[in-house]
């Protein structure tokens, strides 16, 4: 254990308490700075690009809740992203009177239900089998969307209207849309932060570290895993639903297994099991794809992503945020 034992002594010595206070202040300042950055960013960067980053960041955060805090590698998260997107897109495109927040809610709900189904099936197997089961189930969903009449098959679902939020605020402008997406991201992020820092989250980490021991302490590990899986699926669906509203389309790309691989890469690159890692990883991967698409190397995106994958696994397993935290701990504590 790296934690000092002084917490066990009841009342904290004043020096320790002071250090804690300083640390909390520093954390607060850090969060506030990030919030301010998020609020002013669209004045300097193209809002649609930022929205894309935020949607993928939320997707990666949702995925990280499973891999980073429960130790479950899902290879099927694209299914939830796509379900959120398709359900929201279909409802908003076919019911012009529907407000966007209700559409997003419906998409998220659909992803949650699908997550419960996936979860019940996949947590029956462990480790490597878990990854294979989720991948196979997601492929089943992919074929479903390929053949279903309402998704538009290979062409995708187009013409989703952004509409008016609560029937009042128009989301047609990119700036108002951005602040809505930013709000959605904050909501999802706070939910994950709350989950990770709750007693429930502590049990999840215990299961990650040593499942048999958690079971022997009386915790129903499968039930905990299932709830975590459903939360993760719901947030991935929320990300997909929001993304559909931003781009006004839903396509099969989101359901393809490549997307499940991409979200793994974002999380791994940013830092598995860190709160901000997925945000950093998603920003980097989306920016990289954007830059490569405009360069002569445009066709080599998959190769570059694969190479980053290999490098991350071989020599950069804590990810950018993970390494930064290590560096900070070594030099400032």
């Amino acid at each position: 254990m790296s934690q000092p034992i002084d917490t066990a002594a009841g009342a904290l010595p004043s020096a320790v308490a002071a250090r804690r206070r300083r640390e909390r202040l520093r954390h607060g300042a850090f969060y506030l700075a990030l919030l301010a950055l998020g609020l002013v960013a669209p004045l300097f960067v193209y809002p649609v690009f930022l929205m894309k980053i935020l949607c993928f960041a939320l997707f990666a955060c949702a995925f990280n809740l499973l891999l980073g805090y429960v130790g479950l590698l899902s290879f099927g998260h694209a299914a939830f992203l796509a379900t959120g997107g398709y359900v929201t897109g279909y409802l908003l495109a076919s019911h012009p009177g529907l407000t966007p927040e209700l559409g997003i809610l419906a998409g998220t709900l659909a992803a949650t239900v699908l997550g419960a189904l996936f979860g019940v099936l996949s947590i029956r197997r462990q480790g490597i089998y878990f990854a294979m089961v989720t991948l196979a189930l997601a492929q089943l969903v992919f074929f479903g969307y390929l053949q279903a009449p309402f998704t538009g098959g290979e062409d995708g679902l187009h013409g989703v209207a952004r509409g008016e939020l609560f029937g009042v605020i128009s989301l047609r402008g990119n700036l108002s849309m951005y602040y809505f997406v930013f709000g959605v991201f904050l909501l999802g992020f706070l939910l994950i932060w709350r989950t990770v820092h709750s007693p429930f989250g502590q049990v999840l980490k215990a299961i990650r570290e040593n499942e048999p021991r958690a079971v022997s302490l009386g915790y129903n590990a499968d039930a905990y895993k299932l709830v975590a899986f459903v939360i993760s699926a719901a947030l991935a669906g929320l990300a997909g639903a929001t993304k559909t509203l931003v781009f006004q389309l839903a396509s099969l790309t989101d359901a393809h297994w490549h997307m499940s691989g991409e979200v793994i890469l974002m999380t791994l690159l940013g830092g598995v099991g860190t709160l901000f890692g997925p945000l950093v990883g998603a920003s980097l991967v989306v920016s990289l794809q954007h830059m490569l698409a405009q360069s002569p190397l445009g066709n080599w995106v998959d190769v570059v992503l694969g190479a980053i994958f290999v490098l991350c696994v071989l020599s950069f397993r804590s990810g950018i945020v993970g390494e930064a935290v290590k560096l900070y701990r070594k030099n400032f504590k």
Binding site: G127, W257, F309, V310, V313, L314
Partner: protein
């Protein structure tokens, strides 16, 4: 015309053979995955890409060196298997001491690299590889027409499965492999060169994938993406059968091919999803897999 369960018998038998041929590929690929998993404990996500490389190696060596099919069938698995050994020696070995999920991620990255590179040079549309002359045409069995090449694929794939079974169950090297699967550390203590054994095992598994690739080249369009979608189906087959036994992998592979073929006859819409549905059923009724024992 005679019918069977409402379907002309020729159609029925035709789909049954097609299913058996597909099943032979499932069996070969899941066997390779199982051999690698047994000793290395990783799932080789690059297996589909290595199968694709096998098909491409056959195609390109024919195009540029005039290598015929029979030579390719022997040489390509050796070359691609050798490439696999290099990957194991210089990449996989460095992460062998970590959580085995990292092996899955590393091989996934490799698969992206292989696939992406070939897409750049050859596009996604498939190329044709001519069926060798000796295997062209077919046999008229009276109740059905059996293309010679499909019959050969069945014989060759099952022969290779049998050869693998013999190697693992009946030779000294295979005994080492089985012992290493049980307890690698103890094997090392007895003086067996376990790292070498691991390299050979990975190379053998990759060689099996490449062999399947050469077999598939005259049958399906040779394209860079031919491996990845197949691999996901093979993963489902592996979940259904479990990776515990060789015989289990072969039987499950063939059975799933036949089920898929018959679904094509009776309910074509579900043909590409039926294996996943069987997987769900197995997970509900027998979570450890048909031949598996839960770790």
């Amino acid at each position: 015309m005679t019918t069977l369960l409402g379907v002309p018998i020729a159609v029925f038998m035709g789909q049954l053979t097609l299913g058996l041929v597909n099943g032979a590929f499932y069996a070969l690929l899941s066997l390779g995955l199982a051999v690698i998993f047994g000793l290395l404990k990783i799932v080789n996500f690059a297996h589909g890409a290595q199968y694709m490389l096998g098909a491409f190696a056959a195609l390109l060596s024919m195009r540029y060196f005039g290598t015929n099919y029979w030579a390719a069938l022997v040489l390509v698995p050796l070359v691609i298997g050798g490439l696999g050994m290099l990957l194991e020696r210089f990449l996989l070995r460095r992460i062998a001491h970590l959580d085995h999920l990292y092996g899955l991620l590393l091989t996934f990255g490799l698969a992206l690299i292989f696939e992406g590179t070939l897409v750049n040079f050859f596009g996604v549309s498939g190329a044709r590889y001519a069926t060798p002359e000796a295997l062209q045409g077919g046999l008229n069995l009276g109740f059905m027409f059996l293309p010679t090449y499909r019959a050969w694929v069945l014989v060759a794939a099952l022969g290779m499965c049998l050869f693998t079974w013999f190697m693992i169950e009946r030779t000294r090297l295979g005994a080492y492999l089985r012992a290493g699967t049980e307890n690698a550390a103890l094997m090392q203590a007895f003086g067996v060169n376990v790292p070498l054994l691991v390299t050979l095992t990975y190379g053998f598994g990759v060689g099996l994938a490449a062999f399947a690739g050469v077999l598939a080249a005259p049958l399906y369009p040779v394209s860079p993406t031919m491996g990845s979608s197949l691999l996901i189906v093979v993963f489902a087959v592996v979940v259904i059968g479990g990776m515990g036994s060789i015989l289990g992998a072969i039987v499950t592979g063939l059975a799933m091919g036949v089920i898929e073929g018959l679904t094509k006859v009776y309910y074509p819409e579900a043909a590409n999803t039926v294996i996943f549905l069987v997987m769900i059923l197995v997970l509900l009724l027998r979570p450890a897999g048909l031949f598996g024992k839960e770790a």
